[in-house]
């Protein structure tokens, strides 16, 4: 089965890289041998020039798998879908950033390693022009995989650009920062696309949907929007892997990456922690070191 869109994307695309050929070969083996129930990967999209997630169960369809600069989506987010979880063992195509998300899911008991075959793609960056997240990628080679496609390459790593926007914001006065966010949050329509697309937002009952008590107002008024965006980011503190899907999915382009990065930076500065680099290190807010003292507490 597939997203039955043969009409648009039934056939293999003309020229493919040897990585993609290798990927298709492995996918075929996995499906034929029954090692996995399904392969989650990228295929040609409905819209000309776009890609979309595809879900293969038929070995004959593996030629629909593609991987190129357009593959921005973080497919790890499908691992939280009950429909996918119900499949049992699946194979999933991931870039480094997506693999970091899988590490977080494993760490938080939201995915079972034995139920995953991770098809890691060495990634030199996606998007055209390149996505911002790719300019300081920590994991051009996925930190976790079962099959790796492409030669391992060194990570670009964080650089002065990485937190430029955060520093820009830091340079402002609190008043300016307040106005900055008010302007952006006023556009928020509470569609929760940021939450839905996030591979790490794994709660089945989001706190904003808890109404006894209703901590986060559901209304898209300025207060509700401010509260929601504040809470969303905080719940991802020390967990966000900067895949930036939230910002990409946001229909009104709220620069969510800035808040996320600010917290990524804070967590790293304070506790030297970076989420998703492995699936062992305990999350920074779920641990502590003896003798830690903060000067802001008198």
């Amino acid at each position: 089965m597939s997203a039955s869109n043969e009409s648009t994307t039934g056939t293999a695309t003309a020229e493919t890289t040897k990585e993609v050929d290798a990927l298709r070969k492995v996918a075929r083996e996995l499906l034929e041998s029954g090692a996995v129930k399904m392969v989650i990967g990228y295929g040609e999209g409905y819209t000309q020039g776009k890609v979309m997630p595809i879900f293969l169960t038929d070995p004959e369809e593996v030629n629909r798998l593609i991987f190129d600069k357009r593959c921005v989506n973080n497919l790890a987010t499908y691992l939280k879908k009950p429909e996918i979880r119900a499949m049992g063992k699946v194979a999933i195509v991931v870039k480094g950033c997506d693999a970091r998300a899988i590490n977080v899911l494993l760490l938080e008991n939201q995915a079972r390693r034995e139920n995953l075959v991770i098809l890691g793609m060495v990634c030199e960056g996606v998007g055209d022009p390149a996505e911002e997240k790719c300019l300081s990628c920590l994991v051009n080679t996925p930190p976790v995989y079962d099959h790796l496609f492409g030669e391992k390459i060194p990570a670009r790593g964080w650089n002065e650009e990485t937190f430029a926007k955060v520093e820009e914001l830091d340079a402002m006065s609190p008043e300016e920062r307040w106005e900055f966010w008010r302007r952006h949050f006023d556009r928020c329509i509470k569609c929760y696309a940021c939450r839905q697309v996030c591979p790490i937002c794994t709660c089945t009952r989001c706190i904003t949907d808890k109404n006894q008590p209703q901590w986060v107002p559901t209304s898209p008024h300025p207060m509700g929007n401010y509260h929601w965006n504040l809470t969303r980011a905080f719940h991802l503190a020390g967990r966000c892997v900067s895949c930036n899907e939230c910002e990409r999915a946001c229909p009104v382009d709220i620069p969510l990456s800035i808040i996320n990065l600010a917290l990524v930076k804070a967590v790293h500065d304070q506790y030297g922690f970076i989420a998703g680099m492995n699936s062992e290190d305990s999350p920074p807010l779920a641990t502590y070191k003896e003798g830690e003292e903060q000067e802001f507490i008198k």
């Binding site: 914001l169 901590w215 509260h227 965006n229 600010a262 304070q270 779920a286 008198k298």
Partner: protein
């Protein structure tokens, strides 16, 4: 400003700071009245939602206080609280909240004097800062106002 009585919430841990406040009371140490105490078992129990909600109720300042590091009645609660606040403060700062309106202290059951002093310091600080208008602006208008303009039909 002198006549301005700010709205301040104080979240105090049961074992240290709340007891410290009681001690300040039994020793009759005077301090300004402009805050209301909510008792929690441990600072570790304080969900950042409490703080945001307090601002949404129109707080001009919020004070959180618990046991000194190492003295937590539950051993480690305040360690986790401290980490949570550290990151939470960063976020609030990033989102333009005026951090002067948030106060964190460690006050033991024996530190009645410190409690009274910190209470003075904070209330006076907030009195000087005045009402937290910037935040109040995003709070939906009090229905009374709506009623005044309200023609109904």
């Amino acid at each position: 400003m002198a006549e301005f009585h700010p709205k301040i919430y104080a979240f105090l841990c049961n074992w240290c700071t709340y007891a410290g406040a009681d001690l300040a009371g039994t020793s009759r140490m005077l301090y300004p009245a402009d805050f209301r105490v909510i008792k929690v078992p441990c600072t570790g129990r304080i969900d950042p939602e409490f703080i945001v909600k307090a601002f949404e109720q129109g707080a001009d300042g919020i004070w959180v206080s618990g046991c000194h590091i190492g003295d937590c009645h539950y051993n480690t609660g305040n360690y986790y609280a401290q980490r949570r606040w550290t990151i939470f403060r960063h976020e609030l700062d990033c989102l333009g909240i005026d951090l002067r309106r948030l106060k964190f202290t460690w006050i033991s059951a024996a530190e009645g004097r410190k409690f009274a002093d910190e209470a003075k310091e904070f209330v006076n600080r907030i009195r000087d800062l005045g009402p937290y208008e910037r935040f109040h602006e995003i709070i939906p208008a009090e229905p009374e106002l709506a009623l005044k303009t309200g023609g109904g039909n």
